[in-house]
Amino acid sequence: MKLPTVGVETPTDREVSVRRVTDISVEIVSDSGEGAQKCGQIFGSVSAKMGNGVWTVEIIPAEVEPPPRNPAGASGIRIRLGDREVTNWGDETDVAVAFNEQALLGRHRLNALAPNATILLESMWATHPDPSVRKQWEEAMEELSDREYRIIEVPMEEQCLTVVDNPRRGKNMFVLGLLSWIFDRDLERARDQIGHAFRGKKAEITERNVQLLELGYAWGAEHLDFRYEIGTLEASAPMVVMNGNEAVALGAVAAGLELAAMYPITPATSVSHMLGEVFERYGGVVHQAEDEIAAAGVAIGASYAGRCAFTITSGPGLALKTEFLGLAVMAEIPLVVVDVQRGGPSTGLPTKVEQSDLLAAMFGQPGDAPHVVLAPATIEECFHVMTTARRIAEALRTVVVVLSDANLATGVAPFPRPALSPEWQAAPPDQRPIPEGVKPYDWDPRTGVSRRFIPGQAGGEHTLTGLAHDERSKVAYDSAINERSSTMRSRKLLAFQHTLIAPEVNGDAGGGDLLVVGWGSTRGAIEEAVARARAQGMSVSSLHLTFLSPLPPGLKEIFGRFRKVMTVEINYSDKKGDPFVTDHNRRRGQLSWLLRATTLVDVDCWTRVLGEPLRPGRILQAIRENMPGGTR
């Protein structure tokens, strides 16, 4: 076992090497309940405040409280820092802190650690009184030794005991101190953040934690022989930092949404936790319904009544809302549905990311049910998409599905603090009496749009129905009426599509060898990969789509400028060359499917369902492998 342990050296004995980096990933892993996440969050916040680009992702085990010291139960957080904006979780971890060797092993097995990672590991297990623990330790060291890790043992528990009785409740702050020394973090800011994290608790708790922070810092200063220096970027505008679900929640408030009807489901639920906290103060209501069907029904009822409502869920819940979505389209009731996608099908991978609900969101409803589907690509967009979605839903009197995912939901990154506008909250149609002769579906024949009536408006009395109906909302079985009303519902989408602008090419708008097309949360990783590939001389660009239904104009024309077009998505596709796969029967990535049908361009795809965000390095490799002509 090669175990480069730091001996007991005095600072003067060591030479501290300072590595200058532009980008680095740090991970803290522990058993669940040991506070690794809080440690990482504070580390991330302090870094953001100091002007680093930051992207934080939590590592969440499947069970609430898995057995301790178990590779499958690793709980923790990854923080990626950069000297400029960081848009994704990156590739592998450069510096890891592990509270025990089993959690570390879990990360090792998932290839989460860079082959030459530096690892700070709690040392107590090597000499644990329980021989089975010592045996596990030894076996773990054996398994870890096939990489070039630098593992540094740190007596975390021992150190913490000098300050607290129960080190399980303090180790995380000691580690924060360690990392603060390594990355030269501003301790004042760290103290502030600790204060913030424990606000409402007793003052001595904050004090104790600050003490541990300082202990860790001092220990690092005394024992470690490396530090990192990372540039910062002066933020041009005030920034806020949060995860995508928090952004959706605050975005909902900013958009004037008043009712969030939901049924708990991972990874969507935290939006309602957040709203449960803040909505009350803002006059909004979170309604936890008896199931997802009822949640959709309550949101539709509220919207019918002229209020601004949305419903939020994930795949299995979306499935249950299908019938109500069809009704909302048919009866032209505005409705915003947020689907925070997770791994599927069925219960699948509830805490992991996937982008597999696109076609279900678009085509899931039996019958022809035209509606809008869009996907935010960044945490900032998670905030603003709520206003966009509400506006479209109300303007078109239809359903707008917003496709977020577990990557956005749990990723934390700073973005410019939004300048809020009262207009975003503009009330639905005024409540004046309906003039004689105006009908509840007075479709404008050019746009399919009609004025919305809401209860309370005298003269507007009518019964809305999911049956085929005429302009007066009367049940009608007449052929011509059915064709006409179907046409009007579809025309709204056409007219709306007309207002969209062609997306901008990232890279070379003039064309090139390869165009990578993405949607949703993969934008940061794709663009990073494209930048690296371009730096390596490859003629590759990318295009990112926000609107999936309808698709923006100009795609075919843009595609025509590239020798090859390929989507990159986190969903399933058959791999070329696999048994029985032909060009004809290949099941393709969901966006590539859409683009092929629309543009008739031979859009290829590179997709993976690994239950984790795409790594820019892997995309880079895919780009290389897919360069027409071959750049390999």
């Binding site: 916040s45 953001a48 405040k49 913030h196 933020a235 806020v240 930092v241 928090e246 605050l250 408030v253 900013a254 004037g256 008043e258 009712l259 009807a261 803002y282 006059g283 909004g284 209501v285 319904a289 008896e290 199931d291 069907i293 009822a294 959709a296 029904g297 309550v298 949101a299 539709i300 009822g301 509220a302 919207s303 019918y304 009544a305 002229g306 209020r307 601004c308 409502a309 019938e323 109500f324 009704l327 700073p414 809020l420 009262p422 009330a427 005024d430 409540q431 004046r432 009496p433 209860p455 309370g456 408006q457 005298a458 003269g459 009518h462 019964t463 809305l464 999911g466 049956l467 009367k474």
Partner: protein, 318 residues
């Protein structure tokens, strides 16, 4: 709500000296079978609205799918003819966010007790202030005679041609078992005076009023209530000063029993016993908490919300 939200409320408070006649609530001619009990319920509802002088524009009838769910189409109020089994969530969404509206829910027995059962149980629990009418013809009408949960055991249908396999579900008993249920009554459409009085009491109750209306479907189950219609002795009326009171009903229906609607235990015993058809108020408790009491939308202006949001941003500031 946003800036103009206050406007929305002001408009509803407008002085209003309109007087409404029955005709003001009558929509197009109902397209139910002749003799269908739904016609009587429609008439009773229209009478109730007239009696209470509800404004057509602030009254909403929500329904599911079924013969009975066509109801809103025949009213001249706002109506929401939604999807099968899901009337209650929609109605909850309406009332929760627009408490000033009068909300009525019309469901069939398949709609409410079968596919809608989860919402039914939970609506009783939420106890949101609205009137829910179960038009119980003990059969699936619109889809042409399939067994419903309330179909009597042994009764033949198209899906159970050898007769329904199980005893009929008793919606009153089920309702009375749900914590926080606050108003449970039963009436019959062929006793218009009682029907009307029941609707009236239900409407006056603050909370979720559940009314099961025994309803004839001459098309598919002409025999279902024919005996009961012919022989008033098969019907027993619950009476009490706190119950539903109908002048002179004792002449037609001399079989009466005194029942205090505050007594849930007695209510359950009466509901359970199937030897006679009981009409009246089984249970009422105005003190049950109503979900919307704690769950009302606020009246913040857009400006106020922006200020609050900006405060919130401080927590997230970099």
């Amino acid at each position: 709500m946003s800036d103009s939200c206050s406007l929305l409320h002001v408009l509803h408070e407008d002085e209003d000296d309109r007087h409404f006649e029955m005709g003001d609530y009558q929509g197009p001619t109902a397209r139910w079978c002749s003799g269908c009990g739904d016609h009587s319920v429609l008439a009773a509802a229209q009478r109730l609205l007239t009696d209470e002088q509800l404004k057509p524009e602030t009254t909403v009838f929500v329904s599911g799918i079924g013969c009975s769910s066509r109801f809103p189409h025949y009213m001249k109020t706002y109506g929401f003819h939604g999807i099968h089994g899901r009337a209650l969530p929609v109605a909850t969404g309406v009332k929760l966010t627009r408490p000033e509206l009068d909300v009525f829910v019309v469901m069939g027995d398949g709609d409410c007790v079968s596919i809608g059962a989860a919402h039914w149980i939970h609506a009783l629990r939420y106890n949101v202030d609205m009137v829910a009418l179960l038009l119980d013809n003990n059969i699936y009408g619109l889809t042409k005679k399939q067994t419903s949960p309330t179909t009597p055991q042994g009764y033949k249908s198209n899906t159970q041609p050898r007769g329904s396999y199980l005893p009929a579900m008793n919606p009153l008993e089920a309702t009375l078992g749900v914590t926080n249920a606050s108003f449970v009554a039963q009436t019959a459409e062929w006793v218009p005076a009682h029907l009307f009085a029941t609707l009236k009491a239900a409407h006056q109750h603050r909370g979720f009023s559940f009314v099961r209306i025994l309803q004839r479907c001459p098309h598919f189950t002409p025999d279902m209530y024919s005996e009961a219609v012919k022989k008033p002795a098969l019907v027993q009326v619950l009476t009490h000063p706190e119950g539903i009171r109908v002048e002179g009903l004792e002449q037609l229906y001399p079989n009466q029993v005194r029942h205090d609607p505050a007594d849930i235990h007695a209510a359950r015993e009466l509901a359970e016993d199937a030897s006679v058809i009981r009409l009246g108020l089984f249970f009422r408790d105005e003190s049950r908490p109503r979900y919307e009491e704690t769950r009302a939308l606020g009246k913040h202006t857009a400006r106020e919300k922006i200020d609050l949001l900006n405060e919130e941003f401080e927590r997230y500031a970099v």
